[in-house]
């Protein structure tokens, strides 16, 4: 019995010895760990404040992006107003121009009429006067022809100005597309800020400092893949799908049949009978 107890004590002593040896080995490691944590603390603090600073600046970046959208929208509106003005003036010029061409035709007709009267009044004896009148009339005709030719050139240029104005207007679709691209980036920025704010909250970083939330102006709907692509590649893809769907051949009756039809009384009764 005593021997058994002695053996137990020896075991315990051995365990204690092993523990001391382990302690001796671990202490330097713990010391190192302590120094490491000590060294890391300022670095972590620096990372904390860096995250906080970045997060704090995000709303400003986001608001600047929103401002870009607002300002381009204002500028686009101004361009559209000016283009409307140009197109309105072109309409007036067009109307005046067509009136002028009609006046020219009327003038020619009146002139011919007057010439006939003068010829009749003078009679065949006043040949010299008649020849002079004919020469003047010929000169007049060539002036009128020149005016007509100028008018045709003017009409062509007016059409070109109108086409260019319309082209500029259609190019302004870029404003809507970039607005959607900016809205998409803003949405991304907002998500990043939310994540970083979550980290700051969790670790209670930077004392009581609070990060401003991004102020989003109302509901913004956007296509994250919006792109200003002037080629007709995407339109062709859409056309192919539409053509394959046979939609172009649909008539209103087809549409009517596809509209959700209210259930008939028989159908409702049948459903209830099943229950």
């Amino acid at each position: 019995m005593e021997l058994e107890n002695d053996g137990g004590i020896l075991d315990k002593i051995n365990e204690l010895r092993a523990l001391f040896i382990f302690g001796q080995r671990v202490i330097p490691f713990l010391e190192e760990l302590f120094y490491f944590v000590n060294d890391m603390a300022p670095i972590l603090e620096e990372i904390n404040s860096s995250i906080y600073e970045s997060t704090r600046r995000i709303p400003r970046a986001s608001s600047q992006l929103s401002k870009v959208t607002e300002e381009t929208e204002v500028a686009t509106k101004e361009i559209l107003d000016n283009l409307d003005g140009v197109l309105g003036k072109l309409d007036k010029i067009d109307a005046n121009f067509h009136n002028a061409v009609a006046d020219l035709t009327n003038l020619q007709a009146l002139d011919d009429e007057m010439s006939t009267i003068v010829r009749r009044s003078l009679g065949p004896n006043k040949l010299k006067a008649l020849n002079e009148i004919s020469a003047i009339q010929e000169r007049k005709r060539s002036h009128i022809a020149a005016l007509r030719s100028n008018a045709a050139g003017l009409e062509k240029n007016l059409k070109l100005i109108r086409r260019s104005s319309n082209d500029i207007m259609m190019s302004l679709q870029v404003q809507d597309i970039t607005a959607q691209q900016i809205a998409s980036v803003n949405h991304l920025i907002q998500s990043v800020q939310e994540r970083l704010s979550g980290i700051i909250d969790r670790f209670k970083m930077s004392g009581d400092q609070v990060v401003d939330k991004i102020d989003v102006n109302g509901d913004v709907a956007f296509d994250p893949l919006a792109v200003y692509d002037r080629s007709d590649k995407r339109q062709k893809t859409a056309d192919e799908i539409i053509n394959k769907s046979n939609l172009g051949k649909r008539n209103p009756d087809t549409l009517r049949h596809q509209a959700p039809n209210p259930a008939s009384q028989d159908e409702i009764d049948r459903l209830f009978r099943k229950g």
């Binding site: 207007m169 259609m170 302004l172 959607q180 509901d219 296509d223 692509d229 859409a238 172009g248 209103p252």
Partner: protein
């Protein structure tokens, strides 16, 4: 023919409006989202709808479905004009039963072509 142009972007509404005028359609009213458009359908005598897809409150797809489900306007011609140009988008719009599809940026010529295509089928 009276057009209803639905788009949340004022710029786009003006551009579509001008494009329609340039191809000879003068009677145009506007709405800024699907909900607004739905209300206008009931008070205006609209013959043709041109709608964007991405809009707040009620988007173009929801609006198309609402129009199709409406007994009074179920057969209204609807042309979707949108930046969304992926195949899946076109398929989704077809499932919502738009009559045709135009990808932005568009030209007045494409708009004219699609309107005429739709009108031929009615």
């Amino acid at each position: 023919m009276k057009f209803l142009v639905v788009d949340d972007s004022q710029t786009m509404r003006r551009i579509v409006n001008n494009a329609l005028k340039s191809i000879g359609y003068d009677e145009i009213i506007e709405a800024e989202d699907g909900k607004d458009a739905m209300a206008k359908l009931y008070i205006e005598n609209v013959n043709f709808v041109i709608t964007d897809w991405n809009m707040p409150v009620m988007n173009g797809l929801e609006f198309t479905k609402a129009v199709r489900a409406d007994e009074q306007f179920g057969n209204m011609p609807i042309l979707m004009v949108t930046t969304r140009g992926m195949k899946e988008d076109v398929m989704e719009a077809l499932q919502a039963r738009v009559n045709n599809y135009v990808v932005k940026p568009f030209t007045p010529q494409v708009l004219k072509e699609k309107i005429e295509q739709i009108m031929k089928t009615l």
